[in-house]
């Protein structure tokens, strides 16, 4: 693997993921049909997941997509936020990286 290649993230089986959200709340519930697990995610994590369900992304492309939401933070904080969310989503097997 080329070490300069940025890590690309995606959802492996988007067709198996269900979610429910109620207007005005700050959390979303997600069901993963592959593992059978249910998760409570922050709204932001849910939106990152939603993006990764339709397309694969790198940290940079996510930073761009969420530039409005992250406008208050400097670049390293914003990168940290994105990376934390990706790490959280990977730990619960919702996303994987496709560079391997």
């Amino acid at each position: 693997m080329d070490s300069n290649e940025p890590i690309t993230w995606r959802v492996k089986h988007p067709e198996k993921i269900l979610h429910q959200y109620w207007e005005g709340e700050d959390c979303v519930v997600v069901y993963d049909g592959t593992s059978g697990n249910t998760h409570l995610l922050s709204l932001f994590a849910g939106e990152v997941l939603g993006l990764l369900m339709s397309d694969s992304h790198t940290v940079d492309s996510l930073l761009l997509a969420f530039s409005n939401d992250l406008s208050g933070a400097d670049e390293s904080s914003a990168t940290g936020i994105i990376e934390n969310v990706l790490s959280e989503l990977r730990n619960i097997d919702l996303v994987c990286n496709i560079n391997r």
Partner: protein
Amino acid sequence: MKISDYSENELVGLLKRGDLLLDLKPFVVRICSDIADMAHDISLMYADFYTRPVESFSDFHVSVMRESGVFNWIKPRARFFFDGRPSFIPLPESQAFAMLEWGLNWCVAAHSHHYLIIHAAVVERGGRAALLPGQPGAGKSTLCAGLINRGWRLLSDELALFDMENSLLFGMSRPVNLKNASINVIKQFAPETVMTLPVSDTTKGTVALMRPPRDSVQLASCGARPAWIVLPNYSAGSQPIMKEQGRAETFMLIAEQAFNYDIHGAKGFMAVGDLVGRSQCHRLTYSHLDDAILAFDELHSGSER
């Protein structure tokens, strides 16, 4: 025939032969027992329930039988059987009726996956149901017992059966489990209620069972539309506070309290969402039963406006 139409002797005979088929809508249970007091407790607690003919189909065959063995004449024990297989550790014979109740709950919860089954109390008023999920120490059974003595219909104090096709809640209107201090609280709150003698030293402390109101039993086959989910939170000395709770958070709490949520997979996910979506979700902190009842009445009248 109604249980109250049988003499206690007749019940003893039926139980010994294992021919007592109790109609616990929506289930039918065949009960067998050789324990002396069982007939008495059943005639007291299930007076308003009906039996089914002995040739009928039963959903569950349960037995509570005296244990044989060296030490059992000193400390008689009883064991619960389901479909002929022994389940659970044997308990003192004095706890036989409580064991029947717990055993029945287990049978339903573990084998009725056509419902989504939630560990919660369900009460109904004006066609609308309140679901009280059962976190330990929350006081749901006490609250449930209080509510059904102040105008609410009992569906269940332990097992909420959610019909996922029709979005309706059902229960069996069975006897209510009371523990420790709540036994006296309810005795004072509603002196006319009928209870079994308290049995001490169970795994849950001192336990007594309260006969369900006749009206509730008669309406047991009627489902109710979910309208409220109220998480009770007993907190000594506190003022009553009914606070709104986010639906996503409530979703996770319900899923956690649903015995077979995992089994239903995607369907369970959508069903809990449906249940939560149809309900106003609250957390109720209280210390006095009267306050809690009032808070519920306000919820009810609030929704009528």
